[in-house]
Symmetry: C2
Subunit: 178 residues, 2 copies
């Protein structure tokens, strides 16, 4: 692998919008980008330390004295250059790991009812996520004049489009199994 830490780009990307703590970064991943990416604390904090060491992010403020420990990071011009180079680079790995589908693929070892139940669980999750996405969409459509929002909007549209396809598939799958 060697020097291809995707989490670095997530961090630099989010910091290009705002100054954030590691915790903030996690929250934003779980919020706005979770429909196409995810990341854990275990990768965020070590990555932040490395990015600081290499000069791509800067420690803006940290409560060393009293109060709660809290480190706010900002992106440096070097970090911004790295981010831009990555955006310009055409190659991109798009991987999905759908355990539901895998359970279904090997569904032959169990009953049809089990397969249907797995589809149902999947469907419920997607429906819940779709509702969240639709709220996001409605909110962002009020603020589409700002350029950065357009890109956010596109990823929301992606989420909605794919999740609706999943729901369509759930219905088809039920019919095929019946």
């Amino acid at each position: 692998m060697a020097k291809d830490r995707k989490i670095d780009m997530v961090i630099l990307g989010l910091l290009s919008h705002d100054n954030l703590t590691g915790y903030d970064i996690k929250k934003q991943i779980d919020g706005s980008i979770r429909f196409f990416w995810k990341g854990s604390f275990g990768s965020i904090y070590p990555a932040l330390a490395e990015l600081e060491k290499q000069g791509s992010v800067r420690r803006l403020k940290s409560n060393d004295g009293g109060g709660r420990e809290k480190i706010i990071y900002s992106i440096t011009s070097q970090g911004k250059e790295i981010l831009k180079a990555w955006v310009r680079d055409e190659k991109a790995s798009n991987d999905l790991k759908y355990e539901t589908l895998m359970k279904l693929f090997f569904g032959g070892v169990e009953s049809k009812e089990t397969a249907l139940r797995n589809i149902e669980v999947f469907e419920e999750q997607i429906k819940a996520d779709l509702k969240v996405l639709q709220v996001y969409k409605a909110n962002i459509e009020k603020a589409l004049d700002e350029e950065d929002h357009v890109y956010f909007y596109l990823t929301i549209l992606f989420g909605i489009e794919t999740y609706e396809a999943y729901l369509k598939w759930c219905n088809k799958a039920r019919k095929v199994l019946a």
Copy 2:
């Protein structure tokens, strides 16, 4: 994490259909299930060794003597039980890591042309994959009477449904950016 190796289930699942070598397993992952899962040699071979040690798979035949080294594995009844228990278990993690989308999400740091180019690259890949899926679909529809094929068929339908949604999104995205 501790004791939650997903690759084990991929291996047990594939072995529940056929006796296979590690290399065969990789080929099947890259072939039939790559639209919702992927796996590398680096996880397959160590997992096979562990599964054998715990008695979930059995070494069927290995050319220890002359000729090329080749180890064919088969699933044991214990392995089948583990596989069934996993299929019955409702919880499933469905994660996607779409670098294209991430590049688009942070597209604001670069030009609109870059964003459009990233969409184009994504679209080309999806179109190529969709063609493969359609061939799979046509072939399997001739053999849908066998029960196991139905589950394979469902995953193909999933692939087609989602990939068509991706293409629809590509068109929408272009319009939004224009």
